[in-house]
């Protein structure tokens, strides 16, 4: 008896979900409004960078020539005195970079120490907060309109994804982490992401994916989106690291970078800081990414009768995972630190992107999404 042709229950439930037209249109309006505010924020970030370029700091170059001098005299022994007073609260801790590392101070940020630039930067962040709230409202309205988590198709993934990415950025800012330099790069791509979402990927809100009735959906998909957003922040830092590192290298070997590089890269944190930041961010979500894959496997075990089946989506999650594991290993392997490890991090993020866009669009598997 062949039952192969029996449509599975998953398919049977694949019917239109109730659409609250009103909420859906509110959601759309909010998403478009968020885009408008992000655009304003984008211009404010640009203004921050423009004003910042007025200050000709050249700190990196100064530091590099200084350390070159210091190194010529032997390693810096760093004992800081407190000016003879015995009443200091707590002895000052001196930090010494590892032998051979460049002692480059972090750049001042996009505003380059320029007051007006700083003001525009603050405006940009305020606008980003506003846009984030509006977008969040859009995502929630979308969820309410379809009466389920807003993770049924790629349009919904995209709007959730960019909301979370901005949320991570704002969260780091709120924690007083030195991440203001991320602003322009992040918002630019958020605008691209949303632009793609509302044009190419837009799906009317009445579509429902097959039997996703499991709390593992909420766990698996929400952590996947969150990991993606954090990996993305890590990838931006990695790219900037590669540029900044090349810039520092050039300066250290006596090269003369172009005026643009001088102006832009000098204001970024030191290559070592960017590298460390990227590493921390990637390492911090790696266990969560591991969990995401395992949660997916558990869910697949309940829904499809096997916990691992090398479905394209599963395969690419695995590839992404292994690629990030490579990156973490590379950081612990002499000869692979620095740039080589950074290239691995970029490859790993590329795998993540392909898993997200490539597999959904070009490859068919069990993970199919209504209307892409």
């Amino acid at each position: 008896m062949t039952l192969a042709a029996v449509p599975d229950l998953a398919g049977a439930t694949n019917l239109a979900a109730a659409t609250n037209e009103h909420l859906a249109s509110i959601s759309n309006t909010l998403i478009y409004s968020a885009m408008a505010v992000y655009t304003l924020a984008f211009f404010a970030y640009i203004a921050e960078w423009l004003f910042g370029s007025r200050s000709k700091v050249g700190r990196t170059a100064a530091a590099l020539t200084a350390t070159a001098r210091a190194e010529a005299r032997g390693p810096a022994v760093t004992v800081k005195k407190d000016g003879g007073t015995a009443v200091l609260e707590r002895p000052q801790v001196v930090v010494r970079s590892a032998a051979g590392a460049r002692d480059v101070p972090d750049g001042p940020g996009a505003h380059g120490g320029d007051e007006q630039g700083d003001m525009y930067g603050r405006i940009a962040i305020s606008l980003t907060v506003l846009a984030f709230l509006v977008e969040l409202g859009g995502v929630i309205a979308r969820a309410a309109s379809v009466e389920r988590a807003p993770w049924g198709n790629m349009y919904e993934f995209n709007i959730t994804f960019s909301t979370v990415a901005v949320g991570v950025y704002l969260g780091l800012l709120a924690l007083k982490k030195n991440v203001r330099w991320l602003g322009l790069f992040l918002i630019t791509t958020v605008l691209l992401d949303l632009g793609l979402a509302v044009t190419v990927l837009y799906t009317a809100s009445d579509q429902l994916v097959p039997a996703l009735h499991s709390y593992w959906l909420y766990i698996h998909v929400s952590t996947a989106i969150f990991c993606g957003a954090v990996f993305y922040v890590g990838a931006v830092a990695t790219i900037l690291y590669l540029f900044k590192d090349a810039y520092e290298n050039k300066l250290a070997t006596g090269g003369k970078p172009g005026a643009f590089a001088n102006s832009v890269l000098d204001r970024l944190p030191a290559a070592a800081s960017l590298d460390k930041f990227a590493y921390r961010v990637n390492a911090a979500v790696f266990p969560l990414w591991t969990f995401t894959i395992i949660a997916g496997a558990i869910w697949a075990g309940d829904a499809w009768g096997r916990y691992w089946g090398w479905d394209p989506k599963e395969t690419w999650s695995f590839i992404t995972w292994v690629a990030y594991a490579c990156y973490l290993h590379a950081r612990a392997t002499a000869g692979w630190k620095g740039r080589k490890a950074a290239y691995l991090a970029m490859i790993a993020f590329g795998c993540w992107l392909f898993n997200y866009y490539g597999v959904n669009i070009f490859v068919t598997g069990k993970h199919s999404y209504a209307g892409v």
């Binding site: 049977a12 109730a18 015995a86 001196v94 591991t290 395969t315």
Partner: protein
């Protein structure tokens, strides 16, 4: 990145100086040896090969290879997932397909080369874990290494002068560090302390968990069994033996005796659907109430199987995968004898469960002339019939069921040896019953209604409607181990990535002028903002117990002008 690799080579690097011993064994990562090409025959080569295989560099390369190797399987159709797609592909690419076949590209994840890569990786992994574990045990037995001569060379450093006696300061430091759960001891003029061993434990646990997961997965593949069974409500049950399955496949090492002994029957299937609104017809619940018993004579227990919610018996899981309707049909021959009485499962065609199938009367039927024949009755079923929509059901529930029957007689050809679908009829040797207008006889029946076959050929009665459910029964041993490994891996990873292993030294000696000089320094696996912060905290507390004394007048050991400013606690 601090260069605190364990290897003696790096430790001996000139700029590291006397930091080598202090920084050694701060992890159990294998040394990066660029081992010289051996000259010592087979054993030498074997040792060299083993050294290479278990080095971090090769582990990294093998990891990269696994990632690369997994790619083709996601882009080329795989037999394990969709055999028909593979066939289509082979048809479309007649020259490429045999090459792919040879390379195992249609079953990448069980191909020789992919297996070779991951087996090498896991051999490397085992070869890495075992020595690392011993090394770690050794580190736990030993005490943290003594303070390097020049603490100023360490990544985090602080110093002050105090009126307290050196012994006092060292005692206080030892007590403080112990209270902070450092492993600390006094060695000479300094206290050595270390903390964060859990990082290593986590790292080892993670790598061991990977092995557990792989073994569990392989075990599951080799011993797994999977099959399907369709059951009708209240009908005969299923007992877990090979012949009871509608279809069945299993792993290479699976033996028929490995099937868990259990049986179950479908008592009732319940499907509820949205009645109104735009998502009218959307399934709300699918539930199969079953009675099952474990073992040959187990007591019957009741349970409900739902989508995403399988019934678990031992390591078998029973999934509800499909459902449909099975009209109960009674066929009588010309003399009124019942020749067929059964529920006939029909195949759903759409989401409103419009269904089709065939009632096959194989034996016992004699036509009006007394000649033995077979009957085949095409059945088309609408659970909810609405006037005007003759060919499609308008709702998935049994609101107004109508069964459309078109009877044939002759030879069904089931004895020809060619397997047939139960949902289809081979009409080559069948003749349709004709109505008065010489057209194909076809009638719509409601439950309880009977159609009469022409010329005293008998009757067909549609008695009632039952539902059927399809169950997929899988047995995959080792999933518990895989899950345990996975959970251990996550916790191990978290420990490995979030816990810092670090050392702190406190030295207190009398300076030339008789005033005690306290020096504190910290060293971690990697440069971290946390380390100076922690050192600052410790120094702050110790400072309270050994308050500062005025600086000497002459600053003979004048500080370097290129002082690196203390990193502020990470903004």
């Amino acid at each position: 990145m601090s260069k605190t690799t364990t290897s003696d080579e790096t430790a001996a690097a000139p700029e590291e100086g006397d930091l080598g011993a202090a920084g050694s064994q701060l992890s159990t990562a294998p040394a990066e040896t660029l081992a010289n090409v051996p000259g010592l025959g087979v054993v030498g080569w074997a040792r060299w090969f083993w050294r290479q295989l278990t080095s971090m560099r090769v582990a990294l390369l093998l990891l990269l290879l696994v990632a690369l190797g997994a790619i083709p399987g996601s882009l080329i159709p795989q037999t394990g997932q969709d055999a028909t797609k593979v066939a289509d592909f082979a048809k479309a690419h007649p020259t490429l397909a045999p090459v792919y076949e040879k390379l195992g590209l249609f079953h990448v994840y069980s191909s020789v080369w992919f297996s070779a890569v991951y087996i090498l990786l896991f051999v490397s992994l085992i070869g890495c874990i075992v020595p690392r574990t011993w090394q770690f045990v050794g580190q736990l037995r030993n005490r943290p290494p003594g303070a390097p001569k020049r603490l100023t060379r360490l990544p985090a450093y602080t110093t002050w002068r105090t009126g307290a006696e050196p012994e006092q300061v060292r005692e206080a430091a030892l007590a403080l560090l112990k209270k902070r759960r450092f492993r600390a001891h006094l060695a000479g003029d300094a206290v050595s302390a270390e903390k964060g061993y859990l990082r290593e434990v986590g790292n080892l646990a993670f790598h061991i968990a990977l092995i557990v997961m792989l073994v569990a997965f392989a075990w599951g593949q080799l011993f797994k069994a999977e099959g399907n069974k369709l059951l009708v409500e209240g009908g005969s049950g299923f007992s877990n033996t090979l012949i009871a399955y509608d279809d069945f496949k299993s792993g290479n090492l699976f033996g028929v005796d490995d099937l868990n002994p259990f049986s179950f029957t479908l008592d009732k299937f319940k499907g509820t659907y949205e009645k109104t609104g735009p998502n009218k017809g959307t399934a709300r619940t699918f539930q199969a109430a079953v009675t099952y018993s474990v073992g040959a004579y187990g007591k019957g227990k009741k349970d409900v199987v739902k989508v995403n919610h399988p019934l678990e018996i031992d390591d078998s899981k029973i999934y509800l995968t499909a459902h449909g309707y099975a009209p109960v049909i009674t066929v009588r021959d010309g003399r009124g004898n019942v020749v067929f009485h059964d529920a006939v499962p029909l195949l759903p065609l759409d989401s409103n469960v419009t269904s089709s199938g065939v009632v096959k009367v194989l034996d016992g039927y004699k036509n009006a002339k007394g000649v033995t024949e077979q009957l085949g009755i095409s059945a088309f079923f609408l659970p909810t019939y609405t006037a005007g929509s003759e060919t499609a059901s308008t709702f998935p529930a049994l609101d107004n069921p109508v069964l459309n029957l078109a009877p044939y007689h002759g030879d069904l050809g089931v004895n020809s040896g060619i397997p047939q679908s139960v949902y289809q009829m081979d009409k080559t040797h069948m003749k349709a019953f004709k109505d008065s207008k010489k057209a194909q006889l076809r009638e719509n029946l409601k439950p309880g209604e009977t159609m009469t076959l022409p010329n005293g050929a008998g009757t067909v009665t549609y008695e009632s409607t039952k539902q059927w459910a399809n169950f997929q029964i899988t047995q995959q041993p080792g999933s518990g181990w895989a899950l345990t490994g996975a959970i251990a891996a996550i916790f191990g990873l978290a420990g490995s990535l979030f816990i810092q292993r670090r050392r702190v030294w406190v030295r207190a000696v009398k300076g030339a002028d008789g005033v005690t000089v306290v020096e504190m320094a910290g060293l971690g696996r990697s440069e971290s903002a946390k380390l100076p912060e922690e050192l600052g905290d410790l120094a702050g507390i110790l400072y309270d117990q050994a308050p500062g004394a005025p600086d000497p007048e002459n600053d003979s050991d004048s500080p370097d002008p290129q002082v690196v400013p203390a990193e502020r606690p990470e903004k």
